[in-house]
């Protein structure tokens, strides 16, 4: 048996494709590429793949991961070449290697690194002061979700969810935020929640774009 881990991108309009759709699309791409993947047994055989944490709809990424089990070994270079010839330019395999790590991608992934561009004339220093508060003191907010007819509220403290935050002015006079979120299998903070906190604090902005840069392991190194 051979397991391949790959890092892929999801850019442009593909940011509107949901996690489940991406999963199915990549499985089909593996099929189209003529790669001999392993399937589960049983009445409804499924291709043996596993993915990282779902990316929020509307977020671009150059650091997504999946693993696939194969029936026969393949050179990672050849895997990349075959896959990229059947994938659109907005979704390409960036790196691949043989994987011998028994832990799942989700388990290995401890931090998620993001770049957020916001079109605003807000003061960068003020924003960084607020970020400092989030990291050192902690800002508490509530995540509400409806379950049947009840609203369930969950208390979240930014201090436990964020590792690093920094804002800087760009050449275009916008603000770019670099953020490092702590990702746990039990859940993590979402980028839109961070943006909501920023907005609620009085930093007005009109348009923004979010790019996930990578998923990092416990040593703060990219998974691949």
């Amino acid at each position: 048996m051979c397991k391949i881990i790959s890092k892929y991108s999801k850019t442009g309009y593909l940011k509107y494709i949901s996690h489940l759709d991406v999963l199915r699309f990549i499985q089909r791409s593996i099929k189209r590429a003529g790669i001999n993947a392993k399937y589960s047994e049983g009445f409804n055989p499924q291709m043996k793949t596993s993915f990282g944490f779902p990316l929020s709809l509307g977020t671009e990424s150059i650091g997504e991961y999946f693993e696939v089990e194969l029936n026969e070994p393949i050179e990672p270079e050849l895997f990349i070449k075959k896959m990229n010839s059947v994938m659109p330019k907005e979704m390409q395999i960036l790196k691949a290697s043989i994987s011998d790590n028994p832990d799942s991608i989700m388990k290995r992934c401890r931090y998620a690194q993001y770049l957020i561009n916001i079109e605003t004339d807000a003061d960068v220093d003020e924003l960084n002061n607020y970020f400092k508060e989030m990291l050192d003191v902690g800002v508490v907010y509530f995540r509400q979700r409806k379950k049947k007819n009840k609203v369930i509220s969950k208390e979240i403290n930014t201090k436990e969810m964020l590792k690093y935050l920094n804002a800087e002015k760009t050449k275009e006079n916008n603000i770019r935020i670099e953020a490092l979120f702590i990702t746990e299998e039990t859940g993590s903070m979402r980028v839109d929640e961070l943006l909501k906190l920023i907005e609620d604090k009085g930093f007005a902005f009109d348009y923004y774009s979010i790019t996930k840069i990578d998923a990092l392991d416990e040593e703060m190194k990219p998974l691949l």
């Binding site: 309009y13 593909l14 494709i17 949901s18 759709d21 399937y39 509307g58």
Partner: protein, 619 residues
């Protein structure tokens, strides 16, 4: 180009934004600096439109032309429409994000009558006047084709030009003509006059409908010398030589039919009297086995689909079906590709095949007896006896199936309550077949789903003259069945009679319906085919306010001598033949499958589609 940043800001607010962004694998992006920009418009949501094989064929056909860029546009769902209107985002082509008004052609496919309000809505959202007369030389040409174009009149004010019949050859002719005209300096009227000379093109503004005092049609006047009196449908003579794409666009989101579609043949020899497709697609033309195998190969390669669907009007009639399915199984079974056969008549021959196909999964089986009693099945010429229904059902039970879906129609011509109750009787007999077997053979949990749709008389069928049941009759029949079917193993559902009524109005309507259609759309009617969106009261108000009597079109029995709104279209099959079939229906006489004996339907008179392969059986 529309303001894509504005679009980007709003898209996360709608359900399934992937419907509105394009960028799928195998979709075509060309340089905008090209002779002809064509928007293929499907007047329903993305998921429905993307499941339509015809769209995939024509999209790639047009894009195979060097000077044409064909894009797609679908009806935005109501949430998206609201956002587009609020933010002034016009409807756009998915590939280029250019607004519809920037195109040379908007080409609608008319698959069902209940999509007409969406046609109007899409034009307006694209910044295009909905009426042909309000669109000058600087506006796109709005054309339409598809099965509903066989009675184009209700849309005569909206559409500049209809294509009648199969368009794989006609569309390129039309586009080439347009290109020549454009080079000379485009003038809409001159183009339409030239286009009207092409076989299969209907330009409604060149005609006038004149009515009698009783509301029926007196005559049709030809107003322009370039227009033909009779429009003859277009047909592809040789399906093996006709265009079929090697690739198909691969949607990211789940669509209705997510599979490789192979079209085995066009046409049908069965001659069911309610079926429009069975008449207008004559004669039967098969694709060769080798052609289909090649198409399967390239389509699977380009899409990675898990399923091949072998489609046609009656797939079991394909002459090489056993060979084809076995070969496909042999080639693709190991690659986890399933093969499905919709539209199958179940008889012993096909059972061998189905059993092989379903070795792994025993999904539900679907039968369409269409009517409950032999009398009614003879009226509609279904040519199916009770034994021919119960036999295969029993075989299916013995092979391990336990879920059966049964399709019926209510409101067929001459139907009595006894015939309606025959639906229940048949369902109960099927139940008995399940339990009247040795105990050790009875496996699984029996589930029979009976579903009844309300009969809609269609143009170009032997029933084109008949009155549709009124809604009270439909409701009474449906309620009777509901209360009579009491068995826990049998469930019953029926199609909404109001929707079928409206469908019948438009299916056999004429030009006078146009104003009611526009009024209904102005009142907010859209997605009328969607049960939760359909607003019958608004429609009735629209008829009332425009002085149109919908009963006149749905519930009136036509005189056999009456001029029908679609009489000016020649489908090859003659009116005399339809009339003869209607009379046979009334006298409960069946007509053989025309593979057994030529029934002299007329398709051979001018050899529209080449010689009918079955004519040699003529005595």
């Amino acid at each position: 180009m529309i303001d894509v940043k504005k679009l980007d800001r709003e898209l996360l607010k709608v359900e399934k934004p992937a419907r509105y962004v394009g960028s799928e694998l195998n979709s075509v992006v060309k340089d905008k600096d090209i002779d002809i920009r064509f928007a293929f418009a499907f007047p329903d949501i993305y998921e429905v439109g993307m499941s339509h094989t015809g769209m995939h064929i024509l999209y790639h056909l047009m894009n195979s032309m060097e000077n044409v860029w064909c894009e797609r546009v679908f009806a935005p769902w109501t949430d998206m429409e609201e956002i587009m209107r609020k933010n002034n985002i016009p409807l756009y082509g998915l590939e280029s994000k250019d607004e519809l008004s920037a195109f040379d052609f908007i080409g609608f496919t008319l698959q069902y009558e209940m999509s007409y309000t969406n046609v109007l809505n899409m034009l307006e959202l694209g910044g295009i006047p909905i009426k042909s007369k309000d669109r000058g030389d600087n506006m796109p040409l709005v054309i339409a084709g598809g099965p509903c174009a066989y009675n184009p009149e209700p849309l005569y004010e909206v559409i500049d030009l209809f294509t009648i019949g199969e368009t794989e050859e006609l569309l390129p002719e039309l586009l080439n003509l347009y290109n020549e005209e454009k080079k000379k300096g485009y003038n809409k009227l001159r183009f339409l006059e030239k286009a009207a000379q092409l076989e299969g093109v209907y330009v409604p503004q060149f005609y006038e409908e004149v009515y009698k005092v009783d509301g029926t049609i007196k005559e049709r006047k030809v107003l322009n010398n370039n227009a033909k009196e009779i429009i003859t449908k277009r047909i592809i003579r040789d399906l093996n030589k006709s265009y079929y794409p090697e690739k198909s666009i691969l949607p990211y989101i789940d669509v209705v039919h997510d599979r490789v579609v192979l079209e085995l043949f066009r046409g049908c020899t069965r001659g069911c009297r309610f079926c429009q497709a069975g008449m207008v697609y004559r004669p039967v033309r098969e694709r060769e086995y080798s052609t289909l195998l090649e198409q399967a190969e390239s389509l699977l390669e380009s899409t990675g689909h898990n399923e091949i669907s072998l489609t046609s009007l009656s797939s079991g009639d394909y002459s090489c079906l056993p060979d084809l399915t076995l070969k496909l199984l042999e080639k693709y079974e190991s690659k986890n590709v399933n093969i499905s056969l919709p539209s199958l008549r179940l008889d012993s021959m096909t059972f061998d095949i189905i059993e092989k196909l379903q070795e792994v999964r025993k999904s539900g089986l679907t039968f369409a007896p269409e009517a409950g009693t032999q009398r009614m099945r003879d009226v509609i010429n279904k040519n199916l006896t009770e034994e021919q229904i119960l036999g295969p059902v029993e075989t299916a039970f013995n092979l391990g199936w336990s879920t059966v879906k049964l399709y019926f129609m209510i409101g067929l011509p001459g139907e009595t309550m006894e015939d309606v109750l025959g639906i229940k009787e048949l369902a109960y007999k099927i139940k008995d077949k399940f339990f009247q077997r040795p105990k050790e053979k009875i496996k699984g949990n029996l589930k029979i789903n009976v579903s009844a749709s309300c009969f809609v008389p269609k143009p170009f069928t032997p029933f084109q003259w008949v009155a549709q049941d009124n809604m009270d009759e439909f409701y009474e029949k449906a309620r009777t069945l509901r209360s009579e079917i009491k068995d826990k193993k049998i469930s019953f559902s029926y199609h909404e009679p109001k929707l079928s009524y409206l469908e019948a109005v438009f299916a056999r309507g004429d030009r006078r319906l146009s104003k009611a259609l526009i009024k209904a759309w102005e009142k907010g009617c859209r997605f009328d085919g969607w049960q939760d969106m359909f607003d019958f009261d608004k429609w009735m108000e629209a008829f009332e306010e425009t002085g149109v009597d919908p009963d006149f079109f749905a519930l009136r029995e036509r005189e056999l001598t009456e001029v029908l709104p679609w009489d000016f279209i020649n489908i090859g099959v003659t009116k005399e033949y339809l009339l003869k079939e209607y009379e046979k229906a009334l006298s409960l006489t069946t007509t053989d499958d025309c593979r057994l004996q030529c029934t002299n339907c007329g398709i051979n008179y001018k050899l529209l589609g080449g010689a009918c392969p079955h004519v040699q059986n003529n005595k």
